[in-house]
Amino acid sequence: MSGKTIAEKILAAHSLSKKEISPGDIINAKIDLIMSHIGTAKVALDFRKIKPSKMRKVFDPDKIVVLLDHYSPAPSEKWAAAHDIIRKFVKNHSINSFYDIREGVCHQVLPEKGHVRPGMLVVGGDSHTTTYGAFNAASCGIGNTDLFYAYVKGELWFRVPSTIKFNITSNLQHRVMSKDIIIKMAGDYTAEIATYKSIEFSGKTMEDLSIDSRMTMSNFALELGAKFAFGVPDQKVANWIKNRTSEPFELVKPDPDANYDKTYELDVSDLEPQVSCPHTVDNVKPITEVSGTKINQAFLGSCTNGRFEDLEVAAEILAKNEIHNDVRMIVTPASREIWLEAAKTGVAETLINAGAIITNPNCGACFGAHGGLLGPGEICISSANRNFKGRMGSEAAKIYLGSPATVAVSAIKGELTDPRDF
């Protein structure tokens, strides 16, 4: 019998069906943690349909985390009402891990508050739930009906995924970031290379990356179709988590003889900064091919690249420079903790001095809800994870995705610019 991948080990450990599982099997599995944000309003309304009313119970209030990060603070009466439904719902069901609008974006806050640990099976009412793979958890997004079911039953069906491995080696050039690696992968292997599959990232480059940088890759892996996206399960992860929680955990490592669909070898020593061009994430070009494209907005934020490391890089670049007069630079720290650190370290001051606008931690601009939408014909360089038509407002706007360094440098120049010279 051959060895097991990380996904196979975690799913087997949670299986309520058989324990011997292989890719392609469909099993029922018990869930360790559920995350939901604005979709919680729909769950709350679904709960009202349960009859008799004495059956209206969540499976375990301590295994649920709810946040208000979408439409925060509420940009309209409708969303204020939705938030209100959610606040009442979590109170009624004694869901104590509730983070109101002050805290930040789900995929940043959950790990920060110690909710995510290695070996866990996590589902979230948000596609980028793959982010927790950086912490050695099997985590994926689900839709609202699955969410409702999970809230009541604490279990769901899962198809056991096969796994592909990306072995990444060599040192990155100056100002080339993990975002450039994952965008390059989308370009080379398409946005569906990992559909229904689990990804394992490995290799020297991955080991050297900070936890922040690894989170970017597990986050963006969803745009490659991934179900799970595991970073390297090493001491760095263990140390990070020990600082956040006293709950016990054990790293889950793949067996040396585990079966992979395919292993991709990537040498990133010559990797240029990469951008996803409008309107798909896998329409990728090296920055040198598109430099000179004029921009109207630069967005630094989101659960992909709104972490402290990202703000810090931008501040380094902006320290001696001013943002171009024709550019609006919007910075959205991914969490209150990050915002605070940016305030304490002077990073925020540098950004504001250079002409940036810093918003509260939230999802608004990233998914085109409020606080930084684009008009027809406008062009934005964004550190987020999606550039679909209409994602940030007008369908006639264009979004380029790049690293925080590329965003900052382009904001100075007023056009897409190679950050390696800064």
Binding site: I26, I38, G39, A41, K42, L45, D46, K49, I50, K51, P52, K54, M55, S76, K78, W79, A82, G125, D126, S127, C140, G141, I142, G143, N144, T145, D146, F148, Y149, V152, K153, W157, R159, A191, E192, T195, Y196, G225, K227, T280, F367, G368, A369, R386, F388, K389, G390, R391, G393, E395
Partner: protein, 179 residues
């Protein structure tokens, strides 16, 4: 309000027939359910998929079937995507592949989705299409061409028969509550 969704139960039929709408690869959930209309069901119904096929929202009718390329439904986890297509009357989707969450959510809502290799090349919008769901057999009634897709797993087929995950859960709780 679209965020709260709407429920439309569909009766499970083994064989369905309808008019095909052919979609390209990588149809994303922002195209199906645009972010700026998430709080407005009427607007979502009026604008769904218009960036891909301009006349789709005004001309799609109940019982029509979407035939698509690869990676249909990629993007966000918003369930308004399969939901809105159901609301428009789409009876099934056959595609070369689906994005994971869209696939899950379709079964959760009892919207039949089938994976069939190379299907999008075999159809033109307007063709009459017939699907045998349990056998995963697709026929283009204009050309007579038959294709076979991947069979739906029994657990998922059951979801279609039970009218989706929510119905299944609600009836289970109801019978438990009586005890």
């Amino acid at each position: 309000m679209a965020i709260f969704g709407t429920k439309k139960e569909r009766e499970y039929k083994e064989v369905i027939k309808g008019k095909a709408w052919v979609f390209p690869d990588n149809v994303d959930t922002d195209a199906i359910s645009p972010g700026q209309y998430l709080d407005n069901l009427k607007a979502t119904l009026d604008h769904t998929c218009e960036t891909i096929i301009k006349e789709f929202p005004s001309q799609v009718s109940v019982g029509d079937i979407i035939v698509a390329g690869r990676n249909f439904g990629c993007g966000s986890s918003r369930e308004t995507a399969p939901n809105i297509l159901q609301e428009k009357g789409v009876a099934a989707i056959v595609a070369e592949s689906f994005a994971r969450i869209f696939y899950r959510s379709s079964f959760a809502r009892a919207l039949p989705v089938l994976e069939v290799e190379n299907i999008s090349k075999e159809f033109t919008t307007g063709d009459e299409i017939e699907i045998n769901i349990p056998n995963a057999e697709i026929t283009n009634l204009r050309t007579g061409k038959k294709l076979e897709g991947e069979k739906i797993h029994p657990i998922l087929l059951n979801l279609l028969k039970n009218g989706g995950l929510e119905n299944q859960l609600l009836s289970e709780l109801k019978s438990q509550g009586k005890k």
